[in-house]
Every structure is written in C-alpha cells, then in structure tokens.
Symmetry: C2
Amino acid sequence: MLKLNGYEIILASGSPRRKAFLEKLHIPFKVKVYPSDESYPSSLKGIEITEYIVAKKSEPFKEKILAKQIIIAADTLVCCDNQYLGKPKDVEHAKQMLMFLSGKSHQVITSVGFLTNKKFDIISEITNVEFRKLTYDEIGYYIKIQPPMDKAGAYGIQDWIGEIGVKKINGSYTNVIGLPLSQVIERIQFLTKK
Amino acid sequence: MLKLNGYEIILASGSPRRKAFLEKLHIPFKVKVYPSDESYPSSLKGIEITEYIVAKKSEPFKEKILAKQIIIAADTLVCCDNQYLGKPKDVEHAKQMLMFLSGKSHQVITSVGFLTNKKFDIISEITNVEFRKLTYDEIGYYIKIQPPMDKAGAYGIQDWIGEIGVKKINGSYTNVIGLPLSQVIERIQFLTKK
C-alpha cells in the first residue's frame, strides 16, 4: 500500500510494539539496534528529552547510512506533574506509578527520528491521557494479568487497565503505545515520494 | 472488582462489542433486547438523536423492572459535516463512507441509559476523531480484511484502518467502539453504592 520507491526502512528500536506497528504497513523493513544509554542532561524538559534520546539512538547510523535508506528511531516518555516516568523497577514500583497516575491527566510524548543520507528530521507528538480514580483492586489485578514492567508509566493504553480506566485522551492513540503511526506513515510517504 | 451490592445488571444491547466491554468488568450481567425501531424525528440533532433512541430502547423495560435492577441501553452515532452516518448498506457504501471521512474530523456520539425502578439517567460522550487522507488502496484493503458492515461510519477505531489512519482523537477511545467504559463504571459505582 505504502510505495517505498526503492527506499529501505530500518527500525532502530527493539520495542516489540513498534515492530508490530511497522508490520501493519505491509512494507519490508529490518530491525537494527545499537546499544545506547538513555541518560540525558537534567536541564532538558519534555520533548527536549525525547528528541535528545532519539538523536542519540540515530547517531551510530550516521557514518554507515547508504543512499535510499531511512533509519527510524523513537523514544517515549510519560510526564505527570512535572515528573518523568520510565519503566517500573518492580511490581511495587508499578503499583506506585499507577496510583500516582490515578484520577488525573498526564502526557505521553513520543519523538520519532527519520535519518537519511541527506538529512535528519524528528517529529514529536504529545497525547494527553486522563485516568479516572483507580482502585487498589484494579491496579493489583492489572499488574497480575498483564505485568507492565516493560512499559513507561507502568501501563499500556491497549491493556485492560487502559480500557477500563482511561476516561479520555487528546492526541494520537498509537502515540501512547509508542509510535504515532499515522504521522509516521505521512512522513515515510513524504520522504519516499518521487 | 466492581461491587454490585446486590444489584443486577441487564444489558439492553445486542452489540457484541458492548457485551465484550461489560465482560471486562468481571461482573455478572444478562443481555435482554426488545426489538425497537431506530427512527427519530428529523428535527433532532446530535446528542438529541442518541438520547432519544436510548430512551426508546429502555422504554419496554419500564413496566417490568424490579428493585435492584439496572438496565443499560446505548446508542452510537457518527456525525461528519452535519451528516449522520449509520451502518453501511453494502461494500460500495462502506467505501463511500470512508472516502467521506478521509482527511477530516468527525464526531462519534454515544449515549448510555441507566434505568432502575427509581429513575432513568442518560450519560452522553462525544469523541472527536481525525483521519488522515486515506488512499483507495487502504480503504479497499481494510474492507476486504475486516468488513465493517456492522459498524456506524464503516470503521472500527480498533481495526487496522483505525491504527494506520486515525491521526488523533479527543475524548473517550472506548466511546468510539460503542461504550465509554470508564464513565459507565463510574455510573454503576454511583448507582450501586450503599
């Protein structure tokens, strides 16, 4: 459906959810990830953080990239009350994060980098997510049936807790899962057009 | 998780998606649907239409309802450029609807009625959904793999076309599928509290 016009896509992310999203485009792509630390200067805020990390993830490709290659890197961050939430350390930490998100709004920020041998662009999307007040029972049950240890903010919006607990969102839904898919498609269309 | 305190839930909807949502609450419920025509006075607009139809769907239960029963009825409508979209008549109609929704925003309105032997409440949610410009190929492929003939507006946001085509939403995601689940839970909690 998406015509690549001879371009090759390389996904610079080990996330199974991002890989599953790209597979929905029915285009061939490879996955290639270089180890990179995800630390960032403490002066950075919000989108600056995700854009910094995406630039870092793309950096190792710059020397090796060939013509007609597109390297896609991405980073997602959850921000609530000026605190940034990564992946939970353990079950107790996951419970704490969900109690913290319960009954209020937070932001999910994803930045996606598109590196070619000509340029490097980043698109960033912010989605506002509002949870209703969750109960201890609901949080405990969720962590038992769908352990969110690999998810920033300790939840997946596509999981049970997202279905029963999220009141509303404002922005891209797939962005919350880790890739604003519609926006990524538009960017690939733009980069590969003749 | 949800304590019903002796209340019995009856879902007055034959929609498999609404039934699947209620099942996620892990509460016992029955499904009971009376045939009702879904016509409405042409003077009605938006929420007035879905509230009118929900009231109609709840009407047959009023004489028979017992103490500690909650009858839940719902209706969903898709509205774009002041036109109301129901379920498509055939494949051609589905394609037309999706071309019509492509590249712009529309509203999905769901009203949910809660009937007890004491009162009748309706909650209504509006979710704004924005599609990017879809291609004929994408629409044709979608209709082939996930025929949307039973869906208002000829799409499911949880389907492939929703994942690859919806840029952003503003409002409840589950509302677009047919039941604003978080809001429904809050209302059941309110109605069943001691």
